[in-house]
Symmetry: C2
């Protein structure tokens, strides 16, 4: 089964501002990582639109951030699409195809669940510790050549709430325990829980969880149930002075309500790297902070440029997932992380 | 045995810039923390110079950041001084007494070893992750309202070198393992090692350790062997592009040599919160960054205002140490963390 990496596969595609990539974020890098793991996969790395077009009719699998309806029509032997990201909402938005359409053709779609758990786990603790220790304040003081001691807060002994205990949430929980935190959280799935959190609640008890937390991490996927989840009512359920870190899509937060909570001190400080509303509405701008947003100037907000998952190792983790699923597919075993809209 | 907290005991004393302490950092807070643990200790909290003077002749113990020669002479029944900090160099500098003088009077001096291991462990990871994830760069971009994505580095799988595996170094090692790092380090003591590092070297092999590390944490105490330890020769032994975090005294680094290493890219970035040379030479300014230092304007330097250990929990940990040593002393057991100059 041939695995096609289209010519326009590239992490940069969704990061147009990246001018100093310290590594190779192209399909070539991904191909290398796959071949380093196995020589059983025939990887076709297309170098041009013509090569992508030529490879489509015989490709059994495609790895991509999206697959257009045109490519889908041309890929007559396609059995499997491996989305290159863990979040699948962008895939459907940009591809313009539905789960039903894929299912009707017997095409399996898998997401790269967990691809960024290590990287984002580090991002989350970079954010939590930056907020509790006042790193943004220190940077502003340094720019002003101002020596002014201030106190930081501690995470040890504090309660961390993770909204959405998936792959990323679990990694965050694991690290939080090492720091000596009490970890609580919500999750969609029912049944026995075998993760790292000390206590888990169903999503319906989110307010209880928020009310207990000193630090809140949003790590849920974006869907109809979570769009606008953190609105004024929900933010009022938090403990006064809690810290907030969002690593979910920006649309999980209602920006105006968050600004209000940050101004009132209900939320002491927030670290954000995705934002919901943009001027252009283009995919690549979907998560950028609008130029006119008041968030830019708020001293208790740390704006990160949508780079929670942006490190050099991401393609190594993606290759692990691809090789694993490929082997399962050719062996007739169930693939991991089937995705649907 | 009466334990005296002098009227001028205060964490703020050494942090004159602190204007917004979010907690009570006075002797009253320390007394509360001690009494919360035991009612066996008679704690005398002096409210004025007169009260300190009046209490000295009958005090069996003093907890303080320093004890002047005058107070020492007046404290005729003194058996034990508990220094309020883990580092003991400041105690001797400011007290102007020697180990020998104390020993001649049979006075035990103990340091608060480990008092800040939890707090500083968090500070170290705040620094490491701020450097690897580019938090200072993000803050500068935010101040400019600039949306520009950049990539971060990962700590997972990287090698961390800890120079000085004491109480703090061990806590850092413990956290580093949770992040999936390889941990190496140096220590003074010989004999079997039962700590968290994967591999430990004697201080004589520091260059070997530095050469293997992606991230270096300086956590050694300041003494004749470590003053100026990180000079040009030593900085040349590091791996090109390593990150450096200093939580030891500023004098462990030779500032001019560090600046050179940061300019050449030998050291990719550094997080510093103590500095060696100051204009005034006064104790309280000992670790402040001089106004004329080029470090202020270096984008690959994160200047923190000497607040690695400055959080609200520090007195709770100090009370633990005091109560433990007090109980040992009255029971005739050996006290912990005897200190000498």
């Amino acid at each position: 089964m041939k695995l096609l990496i289209p010519h326009d596969f590239s992490y940069e595609k969704y990061h147009p501002g990246v001018t100093d990539l310290p590594y190779d974020a192209t399909g070539a890098r991904l191909k290398d990582e796959i071949l380093r793991r196995t020589d059983a996969i025939e990887v076709i790395l297309a170098a041009s639109p013509e090569e992508t077009e030529a490879a489509l009719p015989t490709a059994g699998a495609i790895v991509s951030y999206s697959v257009s309806a045109e490519r889908l029509a041309a890929a007559r032997k396609l059995r499997w699409i491996q989305a290159a990201s863990a979040g699948i909402d962008h895939f459907f938005k940009s591809s313009g195809v539905s789960s039903a359409a894929l299912a009707a053709r017997g095409i399996i779609l898998t997401k790269a669940a967990g691809v960024s758990r290590i990287v984002i786990g580090e991002h989350v603790f970079a954010m939590i510790l930056a907020l509790t220790r006042g790193v943004p304040r220190a940077v502003r003081q340094q720019l002003d050549h101002r020596w002014e001691i201030f106190m930081g807060g501690e995470v040890h002994g504090r309660t961390l709430a993770i909204v959405g205990l998936g792959e990323i949430g679990e990694r965050v929980a694991e690290l939080a325990r090492a720091f000596g935190m009490t970890v609580i959280g919500t999750r969609r799935s029912e049944g026995a829980y075998h993760g790292h959190a000390h206590q888990v609640y169903p999503a319906t008890q989110l307010d209880t969880v928020l009310g207990r937390a000193d630090i809140i991490v949003l790590a849920c996927s974006l869907n109809d149930a979570t769009r606008g989840l953190m609105n004024r009512a929900r933010l009022s359920a938090t403990k006064r002075g809690a810290y907030l870190v969002n690593i979910a899509r920006g649309e999980v937060l209602v920006e105006a309500d968050l600004i209000e909570a940050l101004q009132s001190g209900r939320i002491a400080a927030a670290a954000l790297d995705t934002f919901g509303q943009t001027a252009s509405g283009a995919l690549r701008d979907l998560e950028a902070l609008r130029p006119e947003s008041p968030l830019w100037d708020m001293e208790n907000v740390l704006v990160m440029p949508n780079n929670a998952a942006a490190t050099s190792e991401i393609f190594a983790y993606l290759a692990d997932i691809i090789v694993d699923n490929y082997c399962r597919l050719v062996a007739g075993e169930p693939v991991l992380n089937l995705a649907s809209d």
